[in-house]
């Protein structure tokens, strides 16, 4: 609801043990290392000793989008940003990325269109290692579809 133009530099003052990754289904108190493929992480390394610009760069695109949506809210009414967010969430939940594409530049065409990025190429398309979305395997897809 506010005209935030740059991301804030918030040092986290508390952290949950499952804050930085999805919880394992059978052991809900622990981050799921097998599915995420990362080593067991140290929470303090994620919370402390961050670069002063880290927060700003990570949250830049989201902050600019929020500013844009806030402008739409003031101009067109409260329904407009809600609808845009709803469409984005629907696409994020249901879009299917074949494992064949793996970590390539082809993420999700629908997502690119909604975010107005389908005609541009940025660094995130070349250095794809920072993509959070992992190519989903069959089991995760089924669980998502079944709602397990």
């Amino acid at each position: 609801m506010s005209l935030r133009i740059v991301p804030e530099e918030k040092q986290l003052t508390d952290a949950k043990n499952t804050q930085f990754g999805p919880a394992a289904p059978s052991a809900p108190g622990v981050v799921d290392t097998l599915r995420s493929g990362e080593a067991p992480l140290s929470i303090s390394s994620k919370v402390n000793n961050r670069h002063p610009l880290q927060s700003r760069i990570e949250k830049w695109d989201q902050t600019q989008r929020d500013l844009q949506l806030e402008t739409y809210r003031r101009t067109f009414g409260v329904a407009d940003p809600i609808r845009r967010e709803m469409e984005l969430n629907i696409v994020k939940e249901t879009d299917f990325r074949p494992t064949l594409f793996g970590f390539s530049a082809i993420t999700s065409p629908s997502l690119d269109i909604l975010l107005n990025k389908e005609t541009t190429i940025g660094w995130e398309d070349i250095y794809t290692g920072f993509n959070d979305a992992k190519p989903t395997d069959f089991h995760t897809e089924m669980e998502k579809q079944m709602g397990i």
């Binding site: 506010s2 005209l3 935030r4 133009i5 740059v6 804030e8 530099e9 040092q11 003052t13 402008t71 101009t75």
Partner: protein, 219 residues
């Protein structure tokens, strides 16, 4: 980690500063904005002919002080919001509205910004109006306003010499003398004095070189 310390006075390392003298004065026919023209990076003068008077709409302008990057970014966003308002509503925004948008942005982002703005405009209904939005993001309306690092030296002079409803030439002379004194005493202010007049006749830009405003350089 129990409190947030906001060092609102401090520029980030290497950031370009607009240590400045800016002022805006209402008079009989409208409002005049004035500023010096020095931009510094430490003690190095990065630009000696800066234009610190920025147009937001035809009849609404602002004076910028603080970090050059921050004030440019905020002024761009405010200009965009005002253009959008004008397009969607079919009428020009008021001076109070543009100052209000400045205030909201400066307050909500006060941990990241170093921006002191004086927003002034002329419209037929209310005449000339001056709003000042200092560092923390508050908004104050005055008949005249001074701001920037050089303004501390001229508070007394301005208080004694300002009169409401002056003529155009009286106001120009008042502002020229005030800003020349601010430039004289403040190391971060200098260069030329720029002015923008907003009246019913539209916009007029004026410039005064050191030979014209500096007593010691005359004759």
């Amino acid at each position: 980690m129990d409190s947030i310390n906001v060092d609102v006075g401090h520029l980030k390392k290497g950031e370009i500063s607009m240590g400045t003298s800016i002022m805006a004065v209402t008079f009989k026919d409208g409002v005049i904005l004035g500023a010096d023209s020095r931009t510094t990076s430490g003690s190095y003068v990065a630009n000696r002919v800066t234009d610190k008077l920025t147009e937001l709409q035809d009849n609404i302008w602002c004076c910028r002080s603080g970090s050059a990057a921050d004030t440019q970014a905020v002024a761009d966003i405010v200009r965009y919001q005002l253009d959008l308002f004008k397009t969607m509503n079919g009428r020009s925004p008021s001076t109070r509205l543009s100052a209000s948008i400045f205030q909201e942005i400066c307050y909500n982002n006060k941990d990241s910004l170093t921006a002191g703005i004086i927003c002034a405009g002329y419209d037929k209904g209310k005449g000339g109006q001056v709003f000042t939005v200092p560092l923390g993001g508050s908004m104050h309306q005055h008949e005249y306003a001074i701001s920037g690092s050089g303004s501390v030296f001229i508070y007394g002079y301005c208080k004694e010499n300002y009169k409401p409803d002056m003529t155009k030439q009286e106001t120009i002379d008042f502002m020229k003398t005030s800003l020349s004194q601010a430039i004289r005493w403040d190391g971060s202010s200098g260069g030329v004095i720029r002015m923008v007049l907003l009246t019913a006749d539209g916009v007029e830009r004026l410039i005064f070189y050191p030979e014209e405003y500096n007593e010691e350089l005359k004759d």
